[in-house]
Symmetry: C2
Subunit: 776 residues, 2 copies
């Protein structure tokens, strides 16, 4: 057999089906008699629904069903706050909120029917933004909340006292904005009622089992009567979790039509319906002593969840404290954070999950503080960097940290020291260099007191393995990782392992692809399950070959006994396939199937958010070189290097892919992508006006891997799909500052802001503009 | 909750989906881009394929693919004898054999394409029947076989010596014929290549896992790359086992088209392609002593398997020895049986599985012998009837036998003694009464050394249960039985148990619905799995409630502690749903799933077919009253009573249903249904000419149940779906004899045979024909 793929560049096991068009995404499933669903969305940010006239729509030939909020189950659902019905009822709370659903024979008819629906609204004053939300006497988005969805107030150490020991203190306020998940595949769902009155839902999802639980709540029906089959998922980035509503509405309508229903989000639907990331205004104060030790951090956050809370409280919890854990030195921290309702669209989970917002501020801050004490920022980061074995200020037990190594890689790869020292030039185009660093979790004991993963393996009578999991491959390569591990442990070719389609009816219970948890938790479960399967194979082989288990070895899908050579020249051997058949066809036999669960040795955070919530922590550092055009304000990324401490790169190809994708998404957030709201109305819900970076705005992304070998991860591995998005914004802001001396604390870093900053600078000093090609 | 359904009339859990049209049968699945398959069948019983010209067919617009035997994998496949390729190659061996397959955009085009295919054959002499097959120098169907597919030669005791002790000996030769399975749903399959290059096959099947194994062999591809999903199955009766070719051809073509393919048998296709039952010519000699004890039995069988052996060797093995085991007295038996190839269509498995053929002879024989010694045949049967605890001549360890009770029920229900004594009348219509008795297995350790069954249960967070099994509900009620048991054991309503669709990808390995094995083996596994699940629930509840497990009880989906009442008036209680959630959301948690296998304490038969092959044995007796029209020869069933010893009627409604169906099928075989072959050509492959009994030819079937409480069965139950087909033919033949004195040993009992028999009789005595209404 080929050698183990662990540690080797391995094409994704899902790739062939994707490139040959065999893979079926959410919208690809077609069923006989299938109806098509469209929803009418609220045109008002806040209004009372007075009357809905659906008569003309119902009368349109081809229309099967027109449903309003009154038809939805009365039970309220939601992640932490139960405040949502499937369609708006009584009030609409944001522009784009789903008000009426139409199922018709085709999409065109459904769309035509929407035009025939007349909704009479009584407009209410809208809560436009967090400041507005928190003003005395402002109308409430949800009654009795004072527009406050959630608050955090945590403190460790003595912040005030610690600041007294600081050689330099810096405080600033940062603004971060919402980013649209921007997956290639907009949400699309097909749902139908099947045998036994069970609801079947074919939908892309990062967490089918939790989605099933949420459907049960929202549809008010027993969870076991719902089946979710994960469609091939064309990216998630947090947008395909338990907040998204396309699948929920489609599932509910299917219970009414008794015919299959497809709900395909147009890109505008998806912009309006998807949960973008949580915008936060962060006031940050940090101090370092003369040696560069970070002595204290004080933070206040106002974050906006929009009209419904969803996962935003969990996101904010991460902003509040996670970045602190990358500094072993930091013992005094205080955070106060408020999550605020507005009548803007709801925001929620997004790759990086709140870490990105705060790390932008921290990286910017540390660069300023380094300057203040005359220290190189990489040195400052390295000095404070958490190390393997540390227990952090919030109780993270860091089994492995390659943060310092990541920083060192960046220093070398970016030619940091030389570029820091070089003159910035005086032409229109100035170059600057900056860096940032980040921590992320690999798993998070936050979804109830369980963060485990279960893998079931079936050894078929041909010796090949079927692997069942409730975790979800959303494009990131989870299935490849699991197949690699199983193939490695059992010593069989990787294409002899099939990761079975995720189906809540047949897969073991699992939490899914969130919190970068799958490699550690799923991977460890895969090792455990493989070892159990191997144990059964060896026991059978020992019995069959008449050789003690201790004298058996296994290789290339066979169990081999060296010692049975006594009878002849050949070694005794028996294939897994024969053993699997033997496992069935004997007295007391049965199909060879094993199930194993790995639950990491973590704890839930306490009310002060203290606790070792993850089995492992990933780290990353990023260096960025920018070119700033001082005439246009345009910032271009000239070069970037991301170093990811993923513990052990089980598949360097996949780690590199994740790093590149994350860096690109980070660049997009920092420079290009901005959801424009005007009085809570999204003004650019399309890819022409919402400008994700295209190939010409992204340099070749260079990436490095640090293998810190985590004691809790499979072969030392940690999660590698989110960390690399976290350090980018700060690195870019620092590079811009390095280039032109303009510190921009408000994202995105647009040409306008750069020019405004330059203008502000010009009030104090004359910018030398050299003629181009000055050196020639 | 409602009380347990065990022992109570329980509607089938599959019924609602079937009557509302939700259930999808083989042909109901429609997929986008689906092609339609038709096959060209051989018009010759035996011919060499010289040339196949498919050019014109390929050129027909809409035709996607035309395939011949040369395109099929070279590997030969089959049950015991490997002799079959997917399409005929080189030679055709029966009329109807599949020669060319066409996949086209619709059925009409595919049919049209068949007309454009020219196959040049070189006709060979056909082997027309078993006598012809065994003639010296006859051409061979399969070279080197001498046309003998299989032989049995077994002997227990000393037959010759035993015959010497007989007071009466009778020998006769019987002819039995083929019966078409006659399921409502002709075979229909949809197959497609899916993700990971796996072959998906949607097909009705009695044994999806063994079918998968067979596909792997025939398609020469790894078994794990094949997925069989059991479509709702509209009856099987042995016709949807590993012999049928509709699904195999469809599956194979799907590997070539890369588009979904549907193959829907027309009824003619199905008549030509299905395996009818094995026709046997049986020479039988039995002797009884003066007391009525059966002292010896000698039998010679020539059976015809047609062109391919399939399961016919196994069928013949049953004919050879099973009926012997219903007589505790019988110690001296000898059987020689030869299975013969002819160029007729292949025959194979059929409800009753060879027992029906031999029991017709034995019941006829015992009636004659009883007459000879002046004994009532029920008395004779009862005297010899096997009893609980007996070990029979072939090693069957009979844990329970209610055969005597069945016979007693028949005696009473039929008003036997009075009707036996009454004058037969002398009008045109003469009434007569007859009976037969039967034994059948509940399971059979014959498919490799395993006859076990595995059940997996998942307890969902709503407390409801999903039950996974590799056994197959083919309409007989297996799913209902399993749901009843699980609901009973766990004390939850039956509709809180969903038996999940059978899918080789997600169901545990299982052998399927053959040999009436599911109630005992599947049922015992369901008890075992339920108890394991309950154990987990109780352990969790003990932990949660702080009460020792011994003080807990369970009821209606809750675990209840009486003793925790100390804290207040109320008893402590916790629902299964809460426990299932708790099983996940805690340290070391996971989804609550258990798997249990029951493998019965049986052995494989030795070369003399000796051994206790089944965990339990079912018995039945049937009484029949006929009216024979001596002018037309027509035999009408006036009344019948079937008594079935199913151990324990878990669901009397289902047992009655199976009894009625089996009796009807037995009547059909005995009186009406006959596959007419002319030079090996089926002449009546349609329901107009192949006359299955309709409602007007079947009386109200009365049925009784004997509960012998088998020690190995679930709550004492045994299989109840086949036994009742076995005694009918003998009972009817005996009743005809009783009515008009004509003994017919050749099935079916047609008016022509009756008239011929009457004419034969008339040579010896004058039949008195009274005027009608003589009594008035």
């Amino acid at each position: 057999m080929k050698q183990s793929t662990i540690g080797h560049e391995t094409p994704q096991v899902t790739a062939r089906d994707k490139v040959t068009g065999v893979a079926l995404y959410g919208g690809d499933l077609k069923m006989p008699g299938m109806l098509h669903l469209k929803v009418l969305r609220s045109p008002h940010a806040h209004a009372r629904i007075v009357r809905i006239d659906t008569e003309a729509a119902r009368a349109l030939p081809g229309v099967h069903l027109v449903l309003t909020g009154e038809d939805t189950p009365e039970r309220l659902s939601g992640v932490m706050h139960k405040q949502h019905r499937i369609l708006a009822t009584g009030k609409v709370r944001f522009i784009g909120e789903e008000v009426v659903a139409v199922a018709a024979v085709d999409e065109e008819t459904a769309r035509d029917a929407l035009d025939l629906i007349h909704v009479e609204y009584e407009e209410l004053p809208a809560v436009l933004n967090p400041d507005h939300a928190l003003m005395q006497g402002t109308i409430e988005v949800h009654q009795g909340t004072g527009n406050i969805a959630h608050e955090y107030d945590i403190c460790q150490g003595d912040v005030e006292k610690a600041f007294e020991t600081a050689a330099a203190v810096y405080e600033a306020t940062y603004e971060t904005h919402s980013q649209y998940p921007g997956y290639l595949e907009p949400m699309a769902t097909v749902a139908w009622m099947g045998a036994n009155d069970r609801l079947n839902v074919w939908t892309p999802s990062q967490m089918p089992f939790l989605q099933r639980m949420r459907f049960a709540e929202a549809l008010d029906r027993p969870v076991s009567t719902i089946r979710i089959i994960q469609a091939t998922t064309g990216g998630g980035f947090g947008g395909k979790t338990v907040e998204e509503c396309n699948s929920l509405i489609c599932a509910w309508v299917a219970t009414k039509t008794r015919r299959p229903v497809r709900f395909l989000n147009s890109r505008l639907d998806d912009f309006q319906g998807a949960r973008a990331s949580v915008p936060e205004r962060i006031w940050l104060k940090m101090g370092v002593n003369a040696e560069g030790i970070i002595v204290a951090k004080d933070v206040r956050i106002i974050a906006e969840c929009g009209a419904y809370a969803g996962l935003a409280p969990e996101v904010l919890q991460v902003s509040v404290m996670r970045s602190d854990n990358m500094h072993r030195t930091l013992k005094n921290v205080r955070s106060h954070a408020t999550l605020v309702y507005t009548n803007c669209p709801p925001r929620g989970a997004f790759r990086g999950f709140g870490g990105t917002q705060m790390t932008f501020c921290v990286s910017s801050h540390l660069s300023v503080l380094a300057d203040k004490i005359g220290m190189d920022p990489i040195d400052l980061h390295t000095l404070n960097a958490v190390r393997s074995g540390d227990v952090t200020v919030h109780g993270f037990e860091v089994g492995s940290s390659g943060l310092s190594e990541c920083l060192a890689q960046v220093r070398t790869a970016m030619n940091w020291d030389e570029k820091r020292r070089r003159p910035k030039g005086a032409g229109a185009k100035r170059r600057g260099i900056g860096m940032g660093a980040a921590i992320h979790v690999s798993g998070n004991r936050a979804m109830g007191n369980w963060d485990g993963s279960t893998i079931a393996l079936k050894i078929n009578p041909d010796g090949r393995v079927m692997l069942y999991t409730g975790e979800a491959d959303i494009g990131q390569g989870a299935n490849t990782m699991l197949a690699q591990i199983c193939s490695h442990e059992l010593s069989i070719p990787i294409d002899h392992v099939t990761v079975m389609p995720l189906d809540t009816d047949s897969s073991p219970y699992g939490l899914g692809s969130v919190a970068s948890r799958v490699t550690v938790n799923g991977g460890m479960a895969a090792i455990k399950a493989s070892k159990e399967a191997l144990g059964k194979l060896l026991a059978l082989a020992a019995d069959k070959l008449g050789v003690p288990e201790s004298e058996l070895m296994f290789q290339n899908g066979e169990v081999i006994s060296e010692s049975a050579g006594a009878t002849g020249a050949e070694r005794a051997r028996i294939s897994y396939g024969d053993l699997a058949r033997m496992h069935i066809y004997r007295h007391g036999g049965e199909g060879l199937q094993v199930t194993a669960t790995y639950d990491p040795p973590t704890v839930m955070a306490n009310s002060q958010q203290y606790g070792n919530v993850a089995p492992a922590y990933s780290f990353a550092a990023q260096g960025v070189e920018v070119e700033v055009d001082v005439e246009t304000g345009k910032v271009s990324i000239v070069d970037t290097y991301i170093s990811d401490d993923c513990g052990k790169a089980l598949n360097p190809l996949a780690v590199h892919g994740q790093s590149c994708g994350a860096v690109t998404q980070g660049i997009g957030w920092t420079l290009y992508e901005q959801l424009h709201y005007q009085d809570c109305r999204l003004m650019n819900g399309n890819f022409a006006d919402y400008t994700m970076p295209t190939a010409d705005s992204i340099p070749e992304i260079r990436s490095g891997i640090v293998e810190s070998n985590d004691p809790n991860g499979p072969y030392g591995a940690k999660g590698a799909s989110e960390t690399a998005i976290v350090p980018g914004a700060g690195a870019i802001a620092n590079a811009v500052y390095d280039a032109v001396g303009v510190r921009i604390n408000s994202l995105p870093i647009t040409p306008e802001k750069v020019l405004a900053g330059l203008a502000e600078l010009a009030k104090f000093k004359v910018i030398e503009t050299e003629p181009e090609h000055a050196g020639i």
